[in-house]
């Protein structure tokens, strides 16, 4: 997706990498709550947790972009989507930053360009693409999200 010139983002540390989530998606950041594994789900779903009475799935950020597994999750970035909250795993406390220094495109799936942040590199996440990529039958999610008005890709079956 086209990256804006300046992107207000939450930087999510995952292992040695840093991912940027556009601030509009982020509801809150919480420390890792008690997780209930979701049996039979793909590896990118770490489990379910209780966020004030709501059942929220925790997704493995590394797995979503296609880089294996996030080890030792310590924080969760709670995204607010039209289909309810979704958690992304982080290995250290996320922080806020402005992404302005676009270095170039990024290669991983569900990402939208890499940025320079001080001495570090941050890869901006395309949250929609990231979440849509979760379901092999992507059309299902697109249907579900369309029904609820989530801005979605024009990917149709």
């Amino acid at each position: 997706m086209a990256a804006a010139d300046r992107q207000d983002a939450v930087l999510v540390p995952v292992g040695d990498d840093l991912y940027g989530v556009p601030i509009g998606w982020v509801g809150e950041v919480v420390t890792l709550p008690q997780l209930t594994p979701l049996v039979t789900a793909p590896a990118s779903v770490l489990g379910l947790f209780n966020l004030r009475g709501e059942i929220v799935p925790l997704l493995d950020t590394a797995a979503l972009v296609g880089l294996g597994q996030t080890d030792t999750v310590t924080f969760v970035v709670v995204l607010r989507t039209k289909v309810g909250p979704v958690g992304l795993s982080a290995t250290a406390c996320p922080r806020r930053a402005i992404l302005a220094d676009l270095l170039g495109p990024s290669e991983l799936s569900g990402t939208a360009g890499s940025y320079r942040v001080g001495d570090e590199l941050a890869v901006l996440l395309d949250v929609e693409a990231l979440l849509t990529g979760l379901t092999p039958a992507a059309s299902e999610l697109v249907d579900a999200t369309n029904a609820r008005g989530l801005p979605s890709h024009s990917r149709r079956h």
Binding site: R52, P85, A147
Partner: protein, 720 residues
Amino acid sequence: MAVLSAPQIRALFAQEAEIRLAQLGQHLLALESNGADMELIGSIFRELHTLKGSSAVAGLPTVSDCAHELEGLVEDLRSGRTSTTPTLIDTLLAGVDTLAEVIQTAVAAGDAAAPGPAPIEPAPARSTGDAEPAAAPLTPPAMPADVTAPADVIAPFDVVAPSAVISRAPDMAPANVEAPPAMAVPAWTTPADAGGVVMVPLERLDELTRLISESASAHLRVGRMLSDKLKLDPASITEFNELSRALNDLQDRAMRTQMVAVSTVTDALHRTVRDLARAQGKDIRWDARGTDTELDRGVLRRLSDSLIHLVRNAVDHGIETPAERIAAGKPPIATVRIHAMQLGSEVIIAITDDGRGIDLERVKEEANRHGVSTDALSDEDVAALTLRSGLSTKTFVTDVSGRGVGLDVVRTNVEAARGRIEVRSQPGQGAEFRVIVPITLAVLRCLLVEAGGARYALPFHRVVRSESGQGTTRAHAEGNDMVWVDDGQAVPLSVLTETLGMPADSESVDGPIVFLADSARRHAFRIDRLIGQRDVVLKGLSAVLPNVPAVAGASVEPDGSILLVLDPPGLIQRARQSRPVRSVRPAPPGAGDETERPGILVVDDALTVRELQRSILERANFSVRVAADGVQALAMLNELPSDLVLTDVEMPLMDGFALTEAIRATESLSNIPVLILSSRSSDADRQRGLDVGADGYIVKSGFDETALLTAVGRLLGSRL
């Protein structure tokens, strides 16, 4: 499960209807000059019939009702009960206009708020010329012109408001009017009356319910904090207890907003009984009890078709004619009763008749014919076979057990509402069908089990039984563990943790066993521990997640932890797939193997129906081809056979019966299972379907995705 979205289906229907309406207009005009042309009459009938079917599938009942009325008029013509007169043509043409109007409104509004169109009235004053008896089936609408007013002023005997009204039963003269039955409109479709009722969008109610449960869980956390940090026992604090009570009440009331009384559907049932009894010359007293029993709106809506099916069966197959009753020493007036009652967290709706009961001998014969031994079964178990055609036999889908058809479909629908159905029958005394459903879908009675250190909830209506595990008779077949059960059958046995892909932390080979069932089979699972029964407030999983078939949802426990509620059918499916397998073709629904997807040929002249079926079946991972009539279908099959043929009955060129016959007569195709899907629900049609060699017969009115997939799965499953 989004297949085609409702607006998509309606758009498809609108497209189809436009063409059919134009055709109808032309045909009718042609009929005017050539009134005896049976082929023409047949075409008109077919167009109307198809419109009816398609609109029903598109979820536009006002349209299908209207088409149905017109179809009735043409049926009379087709069967020679009436003959073509200019007046009749006028009426039909006016009817088609009305139909067009209704379609336009309904498609635009999604049928939610389609206002009733003006009634289709016979053309003004018939001339004496065509007043011969045969040509006068069209009594003027029994009602004055205010039929289009809101439902509560609709007088007796008109068709379900707010659809178009055509009165055509000559014997329904006002003189016959007994106590006017209340209108056959389910309450949820009627506008709210003035009694202080407001309409609230559902999502607002849901939001409210969600907020209340959030408050409740915050409250629990406060309680924990009080005891952890302040060393206070929350139960000793009056204010805390008051808040607990208030929150409990709130939760209870919030749930009640979703409840409706059973009486909202009993009027329609009464109507069904009455009409059918009149049509069959039977004298039936309708008795409704406990109709103020409330249950979840969603549950009741899912049940209403099944209840209609059951009372229809009672009248049709249970109740004898007055003469037969007198001969049997019974009172000539029969009784059909509905009795609803709440029992704990369940509602029981019993439909009882005092007719001839279920012909157990015939059921046995039928079962034996399909290789099921009935020797060891009690009468009750034999009666229950009528509900289990799929479980007990492999090759027939419809129920030809002397108790009408489609009871297995009823059962599937009841199970979809997380309920179960029981049957009792006394030969000569009558039969009783009990539909037992949870009061609300949001609260699910579950069996809690522990396996691999985690707790899981299993919906109770799917649990056949559980046993300690010691002393069970084990068996082994084709590399699989089996366990014997009472009725002499061996049920496959899996370890729950293995099926779920979780590590098993105990090596207990003697753990308890739970027997789960989906609509067609049983499967046993070994667990570590039985914990007990519990009502679980079920929440769906996030839509972001990929489909997880073995999990029905989850629930937040009072201590804040999350309890997974497993879905037995998905679990069974998974267990069967993961077993060391015989060479099995991928089990149809949900299987992911692309290499050998079973192929289905869908034959229907209605575009809407065809496409809907295609989308349902493709989603269930079948490879689907479509044909618009029998001739085309046969040509396609000769080119490349399918694994199953799903066909409509009424079609131009070659109808479904002829197609089935042709398939059976072709050597290379004769083994292909044929499933007939028709809106013709009469026994004669069904019998004809079976006679020509169909393997199953689904009535479109009872048609839904689950029923279709169940039937298809069953037929394909039988060929593995």
